[in-house]
């Protein structure tokens, strides 16, 4: 079988060109980025809950009790849940991965690149 792309890691790659930091302390930038990603995922979850609630209301098939007591019922469900967590963490900790990629493969800053390009 052909090896699949590691899409979780690849999705959070850094782009070429040094990342700008706008706060004096890069730690602020780092934490802000993680926080915004979490904020985004909360919004995603809220939209999903909204869909579910509207459908449940419309069809009246599932009770609150069913949801409260649910646990994964087989291996496939367990793996689906854990993959979701892995993807989630890759997304939220994007900036940490990108800073590591920058350390491994340092870039020029964009003003320098603009000057280079101006000669191309």
């Amino acid at each position: 079988m052909k090896e699949k792309l590691d899409y979780i890691k690849l999705a959070s790659n850094k782009p070429k060109g040094k990342r700008p930091y706008f706060h004096q302390d890069p730690a602020v930038e780092r934490v802000l980025n993680i926080t915004m990603a979490v904020a985004g995922e909360l919004a995603v979850m809220r939209e999903r809950m909204d869909s579910i609630e509207r459908l449940l209301e419309k069809k009246g098939v599932v009770t609150r009790e069913d949801i409260e007591t649910f646990v994964p019922e087989n291996k496939e469900q367990e793996e689906q849940r854990q993959t979701w967590h892995a993807e989630y963490i890759g997304r939220v900790l994007r900036i940490v991965q990108q800073e590591q990629e920058e350390l491994e493969n340092p870039d020029k800053d964009l003003e320098e690149i603009a000057n280079d390009i101006n000669e191309m």
């Binding site: 979780i8 782009p15 070429k16 995922e41 995603v44 997304r91 994007r94 280079d116 101006n118």
Partner: protein, 395 residues
């Protein structure tokens, strides 16, 4: 209703056969990001307030004079807390948009490739040439902070760079380019038809066509014309061609070529078009490309280029500075250099005549505009679909 100017929901975007499959949460993530972009476009008005009320007075107090250059302005505003927060949020939003798009397309890279292959198989209207090098200005950094830019292939016959671009344009522009992201191409067609009602081009060239979103409205408007889109990015062309096939546009060819050195004969096109292309080239290439436009255009032929506005003397220092924000921090670096070039000088250098030069304004035609897009929307510099169009008739 909230009375807010809300972006359209993501599920309004047009589907086609190579458009990535998206699940509920992926659409929701894009809804969040479109709203965040919209929010930051409003907050960006705060940068001007911070500049006028805090940054400029502080500078004057310290130096006994006004801020005189954009680099002084940059130095001064970069210490301002509001600007710092806005900038880091805007950069973060663009990174999240890339992450979200790539996580959609990379998980289905092979399926997308296979769909494109099926639509492209046996067609002579997709002509790739692996001898065509990616120009150095596109290798210097990843434009739009898209990791891998337009050209990187993670699998054989990859189309994911284009698929990612296709899904996300709607988010970055908050849907203002319409369901097919083709509001630029539609706007230019309307202008040309209105201005030159008897213009009947037989052969049309679109340079830097990318995923073909702006060339398809042109091909549809002139169904008897032979239309050719060129680009150096093979993934973009594969996707563009498959997308055009599925959308039933058959009079357009996609060819892998560098716009600075095409294989076309002299005086072989009636119309040469580019849309948001030149600001992603380089300081020497831009002149070579315009030379090539002049060379391939027939006498009496039309050339038009949709671009960001150049900077004029009456533009405020602040506006010049904030317009450069995307150039430097959303990786479109040549944009920060190109705006000093007068389009007329650029065209004259290639042999177009001053008296044949034209310059107009254009706004995207948006089929999603249901009247809820309010006219008082603040200008989101570099993102709003309000452009400068320059060009000439070759005489």
């Amino acid at each position: 209703m909230s009375g807010r100017n809300l972006p359209p929901v993501y599920n309004k975007i047009a589907q086609h056969a190579v458009f990535p499959e998206m699940n509920h949460d992926e659409r929701a993530r894009y809804n969040f990001l479109a709203n965040l972009n919209k929010h930051l476009a409003h907050v960006s008005q705060g940068n001007q307030v911070a500049y006028e009320n805090r940054v400029a007075p502080k500078f004057k107090k310290e130096h006994g004079r006004e801020i005189a250059t954009t680099s002084e302005l940059k130095e001064a505003i970069s210490k301002d807390a509001h600007y710092q927060m806005w900038s880091s949020l805007r950069r973060s939003t663009m990174e999240m948009r890339q992450q979200a798009g790539r996580s959609i397309v990379l998980r289905q890279a092979e399926e997308l490739r296979d769909k494109a292959r099926a639509l492209n198989a046996g067609k002579d209207s997709l002509i790739l040439d692996d001898e065509v090098a990616v120009p150095p200005y596109l290798l210097a950094c990843d434009n739009h902070i898209m990791p891998g830019s337009y050209h990187t292939e993670l699998i054989e016959d990859d189309v994911t760079p284009a698929a990612n671009y296709d899904t996300g344009l709607f988010v970055t522009t908050a849907g203002l380019l319409g369901r097919y992201s083709d509001g630029g191409g539609k706007a230019i067609v309307s202008w040309v038809k209105k201005t030159y009602p008897n213009f009947n081009p037989k052969r049309i060239l679109d340079i830097g066509c990318g995923m073909g979103h702006n060339v398809l409205p042109i091909a549809k408007a002139f169904p008897d014309a032979e239309v050719i889109g060129i680009d150096t990015g093979a993934p973009m062309l594969r996707y563009a061609h498959a997308r055009a096939m599925d959308l039933g546009v058959t009079n357009v060819k996609f060819m892998q070529m560098d716009a600075a050195k095409t294989a076309f004969e002299d005086e072989s096109f009636d119309w040469v078009q580019s849309t948001m292309f030149f600001h992603e080239t380089g300081g020497k290439s831009i002149y070579k490309i315009m030379d090539e436009v002049h060379r391939v255009l027939k006498p009496g032929g039309l050339t038009l280029h949709i671009e960001q506005p150049q900077y004029t003397d009456d533009m405020s220092l602040f506006e010049k500075f904030i317009r450069d924000w995307d150039a430097l921090y959303n990786n479109e670096p040549y944009w920060s250099k190109m705006h000093v070039i007068e389009p007329m000088d650029l065209m004259e250098a290639s042999g177009f005549k001053k008296e044949d030069f034209m310059q107009i304004g254009a706004k995207a035609e948006n089929d999603l505009d249901d009247g809820s897009q309010k006219a008082d929307e603040p200008e989101d510099h570099g993102r709003s679909p309000i452009w400068n169009v320059f060009g000439a008739i070759k005489n």
